[in-house]
């Protein structure tokens, strides 16, 4: 959802296809294709692909962007474990606001799907 909200404030249109994986374009985000490939290579942990995308991002965007992009992805390896280790449900505001694109990004069938129980 934050991708959608932050994308409202830039010139081009931001789309959600890139979340589904590399090969789906850049999502309307500068260096988006490379950033997605970097996140994937970090998750897979294979040295070859990781070195390749690191070099490409370094050449295209510079060392500061490489380090900061790695830092953001690493942060979400932490936050996902906090959320899923504690059984954190979606916040009600996020829940309602994300209905329309949850299906598009294919997260509705995840084991980790949790909503705040209706009171």
């Amino acid at each position: 959802m934050l991708l959608g909200l932050s994308g409202l404030h830039q010139d081009g249109e931001v789309t959600f296809e890139a979340i589904a994986g590399s090969g789906n374009g850049d999502g309307g985000v500068r260096h988006g294709g490379l950033l997605v490939r970097l996140a994937e290579a970090m998750w897979e942990g294979e040295p070859g692909p990781l070195a390749a995308v690191r070099d490409e991002l370094l050449a295209a965007a510079g060392a500061d962007v490489l380090v900061d992009a790695v830092a953001v992805s690493a942060n979400f390896h932490m936050m996902t474990r906090v959320a899923d280790g504690t059984g954190t449900p979606l916040d009600p505001g996020t829940d309602a606001a994300s209905v329309n694109f949850r299906d598009e990004i294919k997260v509705n069938n995840l084991v980790s799907r949790r909503h705040v129980p209706a009171s």
Binding site: I19, R30, A39, M78
Partner: protein, 227 residues
């Protein structure tokens, strides 16, 4: 003395946060000793570097993985491996089974916090081919074992304090020192917790906010995290 030796432009606050995190893990926490907390750090590293076990395989049932006199209960070793390698497969029934094996509810929260933080710090180092932060000797001291007076199970599987904010912010609130530690680490990586939903447009570091959110979304999807 920097935590990392590298020519890459690792920001000072990020470098310092990783060094401080390791120092924090070596001290007694609220529920675990410094020795046990460092054992959790080492166990995350062992889980990440080992041949992958399937989600339904518990390391405590694999011969040779846990030796006699190990500083962590078997159930905690199982939590560390499952949360490190298969975070998207966790269920409330699995969580109940861990508590049923004798792990206190808030002691479990501290384990989750450390595992999550180590995954952050080590994955950062690994991705940039930096040496992982070295582990010091454990500091002496005993855990206090104190819970916030208002900690109770509300929306999460685990007890939380009534502190307000997004649900993921509240997730570790049953162990306030861990909420602070996690937040100290998040701030130089991404944003301070309460600011996440407050300002969705400002650029940070060398990245546009929309670039940060794309990385965040893809990483979360890879980890099969609905939140």
């Amino acid at each position: 003395m920097p935590t990392y030796t590298t020519e890459l432009p690792v920001r000072d606050e990020l470098d310092a946060a990783h060094g401080e995190a390791m120092a924090e893990w070596s001290r007694a926490g609220t529920w675990w000793t410094g020795t046990q907390r460092l054992a959790i750090v080492a166990e995350v590293r062992r889980a990440r570097d080992a041949d992958l076990l399937a989600p339904w395989e518990s390391p405590s049932t694999v011969d040779g993985l846990i030796f006699d006199g190990y500083p962590l209960p078997d159930a905690v070793v199982d939590v560390v491996w499952r949360l490190t390698n298969h975070p998207g497969t966790l269920t409330s029934e699995w969580h109940d089974s861990i508590l049923g094996r004798g792990v206190e509810a808030l002691a479990y929260v501290e384990v989750v916090s450390i595992v999550a933080q180590v995954n952050c710090v080590d994955r950062f180092a690994d991705a940039l081919e930096l040496d992982r932060v070295s582990m010091p000797e454990a500091e002496p001291g005993e855990p206090e074992g104190q819970a916030p007076a208002d900690a109770e199970v509300r929306l999460h599987w685990v007890p939380t304090a009534d502190i307000g904010g997004p649900n993921v912010w509240r997730a570790l609130s049953g162990v306030p020192s861990e909420l602070k530690a996690r937040s100290r680490l998040s701030t130089p990586h991404y944003l301070e917790g309460r600011a996440v939903f407050g300002d969705v447009v400002s650029d940070r570091f060398s990245l546009q906010r929309v670039q940060m959110e794309l990385i965040a979304a893809r990483t979360s999807k890879l980890n099969e995290c609905f939140y």
